[in-house]
Symmetry: C2
Subunit: 222 residues, 2 copies
Amino acid sequence: MFEDADYRLAVVDLLGAVAYGELSAFERLVDDARLAPTVREKVEMCAMATLEFGHVARLHDRIRDLGADPFGAMAPFEAALDLFHAHTAPSDWYEGLVKAYVGDGLAADFYREIAAYLDAATRDLIIASLEDAGQADFAVRHIRQAIADDPRLSGRLALWGRRLMGEALTQAQRVAAERDALTALLAGGIDRPGLDLAAIGRMFTRITERHGERMAELGLSA
Amino acid sequence: MFEDADYRLAVVDLLGAVAYGELSAFERLVDDARLAPTVREKVEMCAMATLEFGHVARLHDRIRDLGADPFGAMAPFEAALDLFHAHTAPSDWYEGLVKAYVGDGLAADFYREIAAYLDAATRDLIIASLEDAGQADFAVRHIRQAIADDPRLSGRLALWGRRLMGEALTQAQRVAAERDALTALLAGGIDRPGLDLAAIGRMFTRITERHGERMAELGLSA
């Protein structure tokens, strides 16, 4: 499949997007760890962050194997991801926890959906890079406890979860409109199956459903 | 030596200080990485930061082996290290680089001097935790290039290096005044050699000399 220059370009694009996503997730998790109520929780969040950072080097190696520059591959996605984080800076520890779980979960679902259309080696690398670094368990445990202690928190955090979803969709659409290679990838090729509009609709339905499941897991309405 | 409760207490103290030092160095390096001129340099600095963070877990394990709580052991050093970082927030990328090299070097020299008075296992763990994560080469390369491009930079960065030294000494004295166990460690015991005032003087001379060597390495006067 890599003889197809368009396919190679699309894969480099996707790897660049995931790599910059992991890098910015790392920075943001370390930053949000300042909001931790104790040093113990700060260390737990920083440990998750460093696991995410560990994926960046492997994604960069793969981009180099495909003959591209990793920093050039990440560049087109910097604006969208930086804007997402700028628009969703948590105002307290709990918003940071919800973002670590719900925001990373959304991004992972989205990349996994695209990875399904790729060769097995690329798909496996992307799926391994997106594995939950422990955020799920950590966030669920702390958020459920916090809501048990103060039930009023659930309304605010439910709104926050919706805002994360809205900002993620806004930035995803922006990327889709700008990156022809990625969009062409989803449309398929001679030797690759593609997505028609109905399939794209089903993809968004699946992403929305999983978002709802995560919110329910936190004890919040989606 | 660990049957001596005072000795055990002093070792836990020192391990706690180094662990909190590594944790705060990690947070500060990631934070200062924002000032990087390109994403490439940002990634390099974040990679060094995650290496420092990797030492925290090993230091915590050792504190637990000695029957103490790692977070309790770090707590007495939070104020001094947080103040050091608050008083030495870099105003640009170059100040951040000098701090990564000169500040971490100073701390490492200080802990290594104390570690010389400890049992071999503790000493080896501390020395391994303080190994340069690549800051030296990275900082020297970038700072020398920056001064070659703009020689006026050297005056400002030389002053900055002196300020780092001054702040480090201020906080070290504060810790020494407050932590009796650590000070007693340096004074020695029945089965351990200690330091007299002349020896403490020579220790500070060695630390100052090494600081001067690092500044010279950067092309700056100490």
